[in-house]
Amino acid sequence: MTTGLIARTAAEHAPGLPAPAAPRLPRRVARSKRAVAGLILLAGLFTAAFAGPLLSRWGWDDTDFAAFRQGPSAQHWLGTTQSGRDVLALTLRGTRRSLVIGLSVAVLSTGLAGLVGTVAGFAGGRLDRILMWGTDLLLVLPSFLLVAVLVPLLGGGALVPLLAAVLWMITARAVRGMAASLREREYVLAARFLGAGPVRTIVRHVLPQLASLLVVDASVNVSVAVVAESGLSYLGFGVRPPDVSLGTLVADGQGAATACPWPFAAAAGMLVLIVLAVNLLGDGLRDVLDPESGPRRGGR
């Protein structure tokens, strides 16, 4: 795979600028095997999570009093739990939850990072110092503690905003750095001297340059949020019973996992598939959007 290498050396003469005469984005994404694999996998997961429950005859909260802790059968494709709930329906419910939480956390946190970062970098001066000071302060806050303490107090709905609130800071710093350097670029200066206001300048001239960073960051945040949510639920701080998420399913299943692996295996497998799909998509997008980016890609 020498394409990455060529793109890297080619991009060196103009870091931060898109490659000249680049083909349209969808076509470039389609050329990345990883991005396509991730997209297909993710689409499959979404379809299963949202359409699957409509086809299944068991609801996630139904109890089958005729089948406790059974293996897969024609009735229950993935067996039942100790309390007679259908494992497939539970897993799909948890998957839906994880997907929704992951996506909304990523959108929220990346949006916040983009907003704070561009404003701080573009405004400079006192506003910049205040915003960055606040960002640093939040970085010091023990984030696990913040989420674990506040979610039980505020209820399950607070999970998404809280996760987003602890994830945006590092990206905001990176965005601020880029925005501060973009501010001095000729075309941005030209736009400003031509009379464009700060909002228009940011939206039209600065944000497009930051888009690749933000897209890649959002995709990373999806998998971080999915793992964080399931981890918190696993420890008992996230989603509360009777509602289920992949984390609570893994926690419930692990006790009997050696004797009756189905509930655990289904939830754990889904969790791994989601993270894998999002990672694939994110790495593919990174390859396409900023080929000169660092060692994360493994130099391929």
Partner: protein
């Protein structure tokens, strides 16, 4: 270097104090130790509960500032206060810290060393079967959360135990009770400890290997064809020596930053490992303390965790200076 380190150290101390104070304020403002008394039968009278909570500095009817003042004064004297049951936090804290260190350190050391070697090896064999295998494996492992990995290993170990018909693997807790008093005495106790350590160590080591090897492979690829490695070869060094002495040493420098970065994740992973393997360490205690509203315990653990992460940052700076002479001279200037 000394002045640079001193400045960094002062910075870290300020951050540690800030993190601990924020953790205390957050826990004290939100957690509710009073609820622990609700479930008691017969329920103690309000005045008794109040007196007990005040004695432990946990009373939510005292103003937050006063409670914080009492707590901070105690911490300055090295006293982290008491749990809601009235036990001193300090004694339990050091005991639990020992458990966590015993759980984490073998896996962390083994995993990071192995990860760097595996990553470097994959880079040298770029594109061949070994590289493909390592790259794919680490990619897959990175997608598996720690708690899933731990349970998967437990299932595999249970199957192996069944297949062999004997108890080869053990994974619940730190020791089997009474193991040190068996036929082999203290030696048997040690063997039992090692046996219990096996699966947690593999769990932590695997996650570390996946993380480090991925970064190390990329870094190593960058230096593989660098001029100075070619020079070292031209000078007459053997391929292996040139790569290890000149290549790997340079490729290690950026890893020091990742080391600091990954330390926090190591602590979090340790928390899940303790839960999954039933070790009574700091992570388990933190989870218990949050659900019980044990403010002083939460603050003490947060303080130690912050100190751990910050000193990992310091260590990475020292390592950076040790590996890269430019940092040393640059900082002295």
């Amino acid at each position: 270097m000394a002045a640079f380190l001193l400045r960094r150290f002062a910075n870290c101390a300020v951050l540690a104090v800030a993190a601990a104070s924020l953790a205390y304020l957050l826990a004290a403002a939100v957690l509710d130790p009073r609820a622990n008394f609700d479930g008691r039968a017969p329920r103690p009278p309000e005045s008794v509960v109040d007196a007990q909570l005040t004695r432990l500095n946990l009373n939510d009817r005292t103003s937050l500032a006063v409670r914080y003042g009492t707590w901070a004064a105690g911490v300055l004297h090295g006293d982290f206060g008491r749990t809601w049951e009235g036990q001193p936090v300090n004694a339990e804290l050091w005991r639990r810290l020992g458990v966590s260190v015993r759980l984490l350190s073998p896996g962390a050391i083994l995993g990071s060393a192995l990860g760097i070697l595996v990553g470097a090896y994959a880079a040298i064999r770029q594109g061949r079967a070994a590289d493909r295998f390592i790259t794919f494996g680490s990619y897959l492992l990175l997608a598996v959360p720690v708690f899933v990995l731990a349970v998967l290993l437990q299932i595999a170990a249970a199957k192996t135990n069944d297949a062999l018909g004997m108890h080869v693997f053990a994974w619940v807790g730190e020791t089997t009770p009474g193991a040190a008093y068996g036929t082999f005495g203290a030696l048997g106790g040690l063997a039992d400890r090692v046996r219990h350590l096996l699966l947690p160590t593999v769990t932590i080591a695997l996650t570390q290997v996946a993380f480090y090897s991925r970064y190390q492979r990329g870094l190593m690829l960058d230096v593989l064809h660098a001029d100075y490695v070619r020079t070292a070869r031209a000078k007459g060094l053997r391929h292996r020596t040139a790569l290890l002495r000149h290549g790997l040493r340079t490729a290690l420098i950026p890893m020091t930053t990742y080391f600091a970065y990954s330390f926090g994740f190591l602590l979090l992973g340790g928390m899940f490992c303790e839960q999954a393997f039933g070790w009574h360490g700091m992570g388990e205690w933190l989870v218990e303390a949050i659900s019980r509203g044990d403010v002083n315990v939460v603050a003490a653990i947060s303080f130690l965790a912050a100190c751990g992460v910050l000193s990992a940052g310091l260590v990475s700076d020292v390592l950076h200076g040790f590996l890269d002479p430019r940092v040393r001279s640059g900082a002295a200037a």
